[in-house]
Symmetry: C2
Subunit: 151 residues, 2 copies
């Protein structure tokens, strides 16, 4: 295993918010940022997304909306249909800031490196053109980090 972190000097490319009602949240954020309300999209069906949550397949899906400001996108997420890191966050904390994301290459190696640091993989799934992995930071930094990889 290399000593270099898979996140070394990488910019944060996304901040993700879990919300209860994506249409209301997107309307609010649209007014706050003075950016047109983006279309709400829905993650792929389970057979395509192949979502795994805490080690088991899940039928969980989510409605998503993205606001791009410069190099950073703000993502709104309204989960439905099954257990997920999004639903878990909503049940524990209510709406709020769920994760920061990094664009990486080599997901498996990145997960192994981060697990070596004490992080835990909590969810993984696929979408057209890529895959994502949520990792819970080590105990000293227990935020959710998202690894995005283009495939």
């Amino acid at each position: 295993m290399t000593d270099t972190s898979p996140l070394a000097k990488k910019p944060v490319c996304q901040v993700g918010f879990v919300v209860r009602n994506i249409d209301e949240a997107a309307a609010t954020l649209s007014r706050l940022l003075d950016i047109p309300k983006p279309n709400v999209i829905v993650t792929d069906a389970p057979d395509k997304a192949k979502t795994v949550y805490r080690g088991a397949p899940t039928r969980a899906r989510a409605k998503l909306a993205f606001f791009q400001i410069g190099d950073l996108s703000l993502e709104l997420i309204e989960p439905f249909d099954g257990p997920s890191t999004w639903q878990e966050f909503l049940d524990k904390h209510g709406s709020g800031i769920h994760h920061i994301a990094f664009q990486i290459q080599g997901t498996d190696r990145a997960i192994a490196w981060l697990q070596d640091e004490g992080a835990k993989m909590v969810q993984q799934g696929h979408y057209t053109g890529g895959m994502y992995t949520y990792v819970e930071g080590p105990k000293s930094l227990p935020a959710v980090l998202e690894l995005l990889e283009r495939l």
Copy 2:
């Protein structure tokens, strides 16, 4: 009041994490981002910071550490010495992502505009060269937004 949001098309300049132990969190983030561990600084004493939390003066202070990656800074915050939005977050949620920040001008007008949208001011304070204000987003988007103004 103008119709234009004080945050209109502004980039997010900072993501803030509340943590229980800033030295451990900073060491972890330093390894993850492959960036040297920054110095931990301490917010000013109450007579200089003039911190107000939910309408009342507070002696709350915090240890801070900043990691700059491109245009975005990641801020670690370990609160101490009194009630604050940081301590409240830690008590309610544990360590995690507390806020996103925007650099603005005209704090009072910005607060008024955001309150008109249903947001609430939760904390304000001063530091050499500027002031900050934390605002809780409207009900549909209940994340903490920080307004930073250079003075």
